[in-house]
Symmetry: C2
Subunit: 217 residues, 2 copies
DNA sequence: GCTTGATTACACCGACCTGTGTAATCTAGA
DNA sequence: TCTAGATTACACAGGTCGGTGTAATCAAGC
């Protein structure tokens, strides 16, 4: 499956359906699976647990999903949320990503990146999971790249990669340390990288510069 | 358990014992558990599998470890390898970290950070696992900070945090993408951050600067 | 009323899991 | 040779897991 198709499918799912209507059983199952899978882990949660949490029979769950694997795939696809368009300046949008990250870190139900976690849990053998995880990571990288291109940055592609490293790095660090400050650290690093690429991100361009001394070697 | 104690225990374990001697059963179990846990996942591997892989009975395994949890803890503690001292310049040491990372990414048995994976797999409820994961992450951060202090960098602490973000970010990205270039991207970003802090990392200090035109390095 | 489809309860399967109990066997050292 | 500890095979307990089969129930639309 491709990134574009995933996003399109999701947008259809989210936007076309009347919002309050269709409290579909399938959606209820997915929402519950999402909560439990994400918070407790995919392997840690059995289908019985999900059914019990909703108050339905296991048979009903299996009427909507042919297998747990299918439920896992649907869970990840549902997590593949498209970034909503913004009218802010590209540089602000990029930096706002890290503010949003910090807010999510502070929430006590944050448990890292569901895609990375799924790959870590299910292993590289699970091609389907890996595929959607790659698609998600790449979609975010391309989002950064598009913003950088809007800014006229020359090496937008390489810089976009570096920015996603900061995003995923802060997520991994927060996962083990529970420290939302990781997002701020990532933001500061991002500012340096952007400034170095000629982007005006406000503040003094040489603010953090010049550690005391260093010996030329 | 503390980071310092862990490192000390490990150094004892590794250095004091004659290398070829002591093909201890305990060590054989640990080595096999390490391979299987790391490559396939902790939850995916049962104690029977480990025993069968070595060719011993499950009873023997339980004679050396009181429970699977204890084996998991020992596995992670064994992974807590101390960085060996280097005579290279601090800046080189820092950058060499990313070269080493790239080499490990290229190996086909690389499966991300065992500590992050364990936390992702076992969940935040497992306090013991989380504790050692935090200790490991912090020890690496402190290693960076020490090198930066040797360089006389002013905000060594903040910069060290940013560097570990790049390390963990590249690990997470490589885990899902299988792309060793993530390590190079992290290294380039690290160079920019170091340069911005006044560290001489070789190459033109303003080469990548200023948006528009420049040749790829 | 009747039909159709969704949902229900519930038993059950085979597989795998961690962990234990036991009694026999092997091996190294005094 | 005797002893003590490690290791063995093997059965088994008690549990969870994913998944299925079946027959009853419920609700909506014709």
């Amino acid at each position: 499956m491709q990134a574009g198709a995933d996003v399109k499918a999701l947008v259809t799912q989210v936007c076309v359906m009347p919002p309050a209507e269709k409290s579909d059983m399938k959606e209820r199952i997915l929402a519950t699976a999402d909560k439990l899978f994400y918070l407790q882990g995919i392997r840690a949660i059995g289908v019985d647990t999900i059914a019990a949490e909703i108050g339905i029979s296991k048979r009903t769950l299996y009427n909507h999903f042919p297998s747990k694997d299918a439920l896992i795939a649907a869970y990840l696809e549902r997590r593949f949320v498209a970034q909503r368009p913004s009218d802010k300046q590209p540089a602000e949008q990029i930096l706002a990503t890290f503010d949003s990250l910090e807010r999510r870190f502070a929430a006590k139900d944050f448990r890292g990146c569901p895609f990375v976690n799924a790959v870590a849990e299910l292993g590289p053998q699970d091609r389907a999971v890996k595929k959607i995880a790659v698609a998600f990571k790449e979609s975010r990288r391309l989002w950064f790249r598009d913003r950088l291109n809007e800014l006229g940055v020359a090496n937008a592609d390489a810089l976009a990669t570096q920015l996603v490293l900061l995003v995923d790095g802060s997520i991994a660090q927060d996962l083990v340390r529970d420290d939302p400050a990781m997002a701020r650290a990532a933001k500061e690093a991002a500012k340096v990288l952007l400034r170095n690429a000629g982007v005006d991100v406000g503040g003094d361009a040489t603010k953090a510069a010049k550690g005391r001394k260093q010996t030329p070697q």
